[in-house]
């Protein structure tokens, strides 16, 4: 498809999308001249559709900005809370292990629980992306 045909197609598209356009016979003749004309015309028509996206442009963006910021702040707060909980659990585990060094059952249960927590935590940390989306 030559550049020339694309230019012609763009001009026909510009003309034919005007509500006042009436020279459909001339357009028919141009289309008949070469099957490539219709393909270029279709591409220009698809471009016309694509350009319709411009209608969804937001005139101003401050609202969007504040929303993004507040979402970020909230997720940071939640993230902080989660990190704190994990840290507290680790401190408790270490404390339990040192304080109950002599008491075998307590130490054993602490080790089992700690090991299980660690394995679960690692599993969930690394499974992002592999988890079923719904």
């Amino acid at each position: 498809m030559t550049t020339d045909i694309r230019d012609q197609a763009a001009l026909w598209m510009a003309r034919a999308r005007d509500p006042r356009f009436s020279d459909w016979d001339a357009l028919t003749e141009w289309l008949e001249a070469d099957p490539a004309h219709n393909l270029a015309y279709e591409a220009a028509f698809a471009g016309h559709d694509l350009a319709g996206a411009l209608a969804s442009e937001q005139p101003a963006a401050p609202f969007a900005d504040t929303r993004v910021a507040s979402t970020w702040r909230r997720s940071r707060w939640i993230g902080g809370g989660l990190a704190g909980a994990v840290a507290a659990a680790l401190v408790a585990l270490v404390g339990l292990l040192t304080l109950a060094a002599r008491q075998l059952p307590v130490r054993a249960s602490a080790l089992i629980w700690g090991g299980w927590t660690l394995v679960t935590g690692l599993t969930f940390s690394f499974m992002s992306g592999t988890v079923h989306p719904y």
């Binding site: 694309r6 028919t28 279709e42 028509f45 471009g47 996206a53 411009l54 442009e57």
Partner: protein
């Protein structure tokens, strides 16, 4: 063309104009539809020729039938200034819709074949994903148009988004109609190139010489 307040007056020399003054229970809407149907009959050969030139092939007759049924179901949105042009526009849009539908179907089948996943099963695509795709499309169009002059961009927006006619834009800008066409031509050339990029030149690769 001048819009008159009475639909019947716009459709002169058509069978429906016989009902002027004596409507026999027919509404204006019926008259508009039957007026267009009469034009469709009168312009059948020219419309078929246009449809074939638009790539309808042997489906041209079926598409004419589709056009006829569409007219039958149509609600009159006011008088139609140029019934003939109106029908050609309908035919043009119908062909475009068919091409797009075929393309979507092919893409879907291809995606299904490759991944076993149906991306265009519209209900299955998450709305967030669709919104993201729309935003990306918008940025893509904006980036492409940004390469054009500010005047070309604003004229294209006036035409494509605000729906202002070319003759009105010519008046506003104080330039000739063909100058407006030139601006729009450049813009359409640019957005068409985006489509070519995205779709690998549509089915043209296989059929163009």
């Amino acid at each position: 063309m001048i819009r008159s307040s009475s639909p019947a007056h716009n459709i002169v020399a058509l069978p429906s104009s016989r009902y002027d003054g004596e409507t026999n229970g027919r509404t204006d809407l019926d008259m508009v539809a039957s007026g267009l149907s009469a034009v469709l009959i009168a312009q059948r050969a020219a419309l078929l020729r246009f449809l074939r030139a638009r790539g309808a092939g042997e489906d041209a007759d079926d598409i004419m039938q589709e056009l006829w049924l569409k007219l039958d179901r149509m609600e009159a949105a006011g008088p139609i200034a140029d019934p003939r042009a109106y029908l050609f526009r309908m035919a043009d849009n119908l062909m475009h819709d068919r091409v797009r539908a075929t393309l979507r179907r092919n893409n879907r089948e291809q995606a299904w074949g490759e991944t076993g996943y149906d991306p265009a099963g519209h209900d299955e695509t998450p709305s967030a994903e669709r919104a993201l795709a729309a935003r990306q499309r918008l940025h893509q169009v904006e980036r492409a148009l940004a390469t054009l002059s500010a005047r070309t961009q604003s004229i294209f927006r006036r035409f494509r988004i605000d729906g202002i006619t070319q003759s009105r834009i010519a008046q506003e800008e104080g330039i000739s109609l063909s100058a407006v066409e030139k601006h729009l031509q450049r813009a359409y050339r640019t957005v068409a190139a985006l489509v070519d990029e995205e779709e690998g030149e549509l089915p043209s690769r296989s059929r163009a010489p």
